[in-house]
């Protein structure tokens, strides 16, 4: 088994005993009646088929031919934000691959010419033509770079900014640069060689197109001698850690900007002077938190009792980037950090995985998350991903009770 086809996940499909852990926060992290559910689709649509369990049940029936494709089924499969909360909660007690089964199911839908949703096909067309998911001119990707930025040529460290920061939130990209400069890091950017990381295509089952993007970017990293890649985008980070190893063994280090800042703080290369006087809560982006562990390909047999031969390196969400952003916030003068109930590996998705095809559901999800943020008494919700920013911005703009929202790099720059 190479674990690249839906059939390879038959063990997961057959061994589910419907325990329901894919829908609820773990017992150890329980805090009360509110905010106990972790699966956005289950909470919103309420039928059990809208859950990790339901999706793998559907996958099994499609594989066995007892369920047939139709438009409603496609909508159902693509409503899932692929946030992975089901996956890590299931894996707290079981050796199952719930999210990879869902992703393999989507890949099968695309292979069978049934998926993805039309809006997702649009991503692929835009990427093919413009190398970014926004359909913006490729030569404008680094238009935000100013002459005041200090870049180095003879370095093996590169900043990969990603489509969303490039075109929608260049202020975040500029903040990343300011921070790297302030910490004395010598780095470069990839200019027109940087193409979309492929995350939106990978997560909608468009593996072939996503694979081509990965191959392109991997070639760029290799040809430019990149040994350390820094990104401020959780989606890009998650793709480099979770998808690229399925294409080729990575020979470079991947760091999120929060990890870089944390290291600079520990090395006394970065310190904060300004008092921000703000009570905040931190939202863990899915692909920076529970889904950011490095994917290690496994090829073997699953024997009786679920024994994996050879042993498999599991991604259970244990080693996500949870610590660094919190340490940064705690170090900024005047910042009081309070936690949401659903945090770290149990964090509730912002809805960023589905806005194109299901804007109403994406909006509902973001509102639910902001409601939880307000429940903590925080004045602001902090995140470290431009997709989360887009989700929260849309929710706030829709007219709900306001709360401040900031990318963590914004606070760091203010505090320098």
């Amino acid at each position: 088994m190479d674990m690249d086809k839906l059939e390879d996940y038959r063990y997961t499909m057959e061994s589910c005993n419907h325990c329901g852990q894919c829908r609820f926060i773990l017992g150890h992290k329980m805090r009360g009646w509110e905010y106990a559910e972790v699966c956005p689709i289950y909470q919103r649509y309420q039928f059990d088929a809208y859950s990790g369990q339901g999706l793998i049940n559907i996958a099994q029936e499609l594989l066995e031919g007892t369920l047939r494709y139709d438009k409603e089924l496609m909508k159902h499969l693509y409503t899932c934000t692929t946030c992975g909360a089901c996956d890590v909660n299931c894996k707290s007690v079981r050796d199952m691959e719930v999210l990879d089964t869902i992703l393999a199911l989507r890949a099968k839908c695309v292979e069978d010419r049934q998926g993805p949703m039309p809006e997702h096909k649009g991503y692929a067309r835009l990427v093919e033509n413009t190398h970014n998911i926004n359909g913006q001119p490729h030569d404008q990707r680094f238009a935000w770079l100013s002459d005041h930025v200090s870049l180095s040529q003879d370095t093996k460290i590169a900043y990969f900014e990603g489509c969303t920061a490039s075109y929608l939130y260049p202020d975040t990209a500029r903040n990343v640069i300011k921070i790297l400069n302030a910490g004395g890091m010598r780095f470069t950017v990839l200019d027109s060689d940087e193409h979309c990381c492929g995350a939106p295509l990978w997560r909608t089952g468009q593996i072939e197109t996503a694979g081509k993007l990965a191959e392109h970017n991997l070639d760029v990293f290799k040809n430019r001698g990149v040994k350390t890649l820094i990104t401020g985008c959780a989606e890009c980070y998650g793709a480099f850690r979770g998808f690229y190893p399925r294409i080729a063994k990575p020979d470079f280090e991947i760091l999120h900007i929060t990890e870089v800042i944390h290291t600079m703080m520990k090395d006394c290369r970065l310190s904060f002077k300004n008092n921000l006087n703000l009570k905040v809560t931190y939202h863990d982006p899915c692909l920076l938190g529970r889904l950011s562990e490095l994917y290690v390909p496994w090829n073997g047999q699953i024997k009786a009792f679920g024994i994996h031969d050879p042993p498999k390196q599991w991604r259970r969400g244990t080693h996500g980037v949870y610590h660094a952003p919190r340490e940064i916030l705690k170090a900024i003068p005047g910042i009081e950090l309070v936690e949401m109930i659903r945090n770290e590996e149990n964090a509730f998705c912002c809805g960023g995985g589905v806005p194109a095809a299901f804007p109403d559901f994406a909006l509902w999800t973001a509102k639910e998350r902001l409601s939880e943020a307000r429940f903590t008494g925080a004045e602001a919700v902090i995140f470290s991903c431009p997709f989360c920013r887009s989700s929260f911005e849309t929710a706030i703009d829709s007219g709900i009770e306001p709360i401040q929202y900031h990318d963590i790099t914004e606070l760091v720059v203010q505090a320098l």
């Binding site: 325990c19 609820f24 773990l26 049940n57």
Partner: protein
């Protein structure tokens, strides 16, 4: 066989179109073959999600009128073969998830069927109360769990779990709403059996649908919030030693166990003997099937 259109419409009129479905992919979640069961399941014809007791009554009456079977569910834990004959619908009580009352003075709480342990237990702990969870995980229904009359691993220290079940509200197989125990006499939720005749013998699992129940609660001397360390899958919870201690005794013969129990009884210390399956402990201390196998 599928539901006749007018039957579906009648059911839909009870809960609204958003809370009923007969789409094949929606029903896939209720016909999955359980790994414990092994037999291929029969598909339900539809799933319906009532939000109130009155809606449950209306659904049951429609089912009776058209000879449609029904099975009520909440969390599906370990369930296979939900449907025993074609022409059956699933009544998912998932929307009925409110904690209706926490009575600190009289020591009980009133819940709807879809309140889960992961929700109720911490709400009680905040108030210095708790209850024993009988052999299931955090996402399971509190109400369904306490209906079980089987032996559970909590009984050595807390008695049988169904002893915690107090007054309850029950939709009969014919669709009447019955308030059982002290509730029937407007005497509150405190007792499942009277004053007056008990229906305890009549009401067994599988008959009718429970829509509200009171559960007895105990005092909780531990912290209001569990002090959890670590991350999935290796959490640790260290409870304060002034109110939680574990003593491990080893006995080499049953006679010595007997003597020990007699002495404990004389000291008026509650005691039970549990034949504990070591595998359960093994699961708790390992992180994968491979680890467990090597243990």
């Amino acid at each position: 066989m599928s539901l006749l259109e007018h039957v579906y419409s009648e059911l839909e009129s009870v809960v609204g179109s958003e809370h009923i479905s007969d789409r094949p992919h929606i029903l896939a979640a209720y016909r999955h073959t359980s790994p414990q069961g092994g037999r291929k399941s029969i598909s339900p014809e539809a799933v319906i999600l009532p939000g109130r007791s009155e809606e449950v009554q209306a659904i049951v009456r429609i089912c009776n009128r058209y000879n449609i079977g029904y099975t009520s569910i909440v969390s599906l834990f370990g369930m296979g073969w939900l449907v025993s004959r074609p022409g059956t619908i699933i009544i998912s009580l998932r929307r009925m998830n409110r904690i209706l009352e926490i009575n600190e003075r009289d020591g009980f709480t009133v819940v709807e069927p879809a309140v889960r342990h992961v929700q109720l237990k911490p709400e009680l702990m905040k108030r210095g109360l708790s209850y024993p969870v009988p052999s299931v995980g955090p996402s399971c229904s509190v109400l369904a769990n306490f209906l079980g009359k089987g032996e559970r691993h909590i009984q050595h220290s807390y008695s049988k779990n169904n002893r915690y079940l107090l007054g309850y509200e029950w939709v009969t197989p014919t669709g009447e709403l019955i308030r059982v125990g002290s509730l029937a006499n407007d005497s509150g939720w405190f007792c499942p059996d009277g004053p007056g005749p008990s229906l305890g013998g009549l009401i067994q699992k599988g008959n009718g649908i429970f829509t509200k129940a009171a559960i007895a609660v105990d005092a909780w001397k531990g912290p209001a919030i569990l002090p959890t360390e670590g991350r999935s899958p290796t959490y640790k919870v260290r409870l304060p030693q002034d109110c939680h201690k574990v003593h491990i005794f080893k006995f080499h013969t049953l006679e010595k166990v007997r003597d020990f129990m007699i002495e404990m009884g004389k000291a008026e210390i509650g005691v039970g003997v549990l034949k504990f399956f070591y595998a359960t402990a093994g699961v708790m201390f390992t992180v994968s099937a491979n680890d467990f196998w090597e243990l």
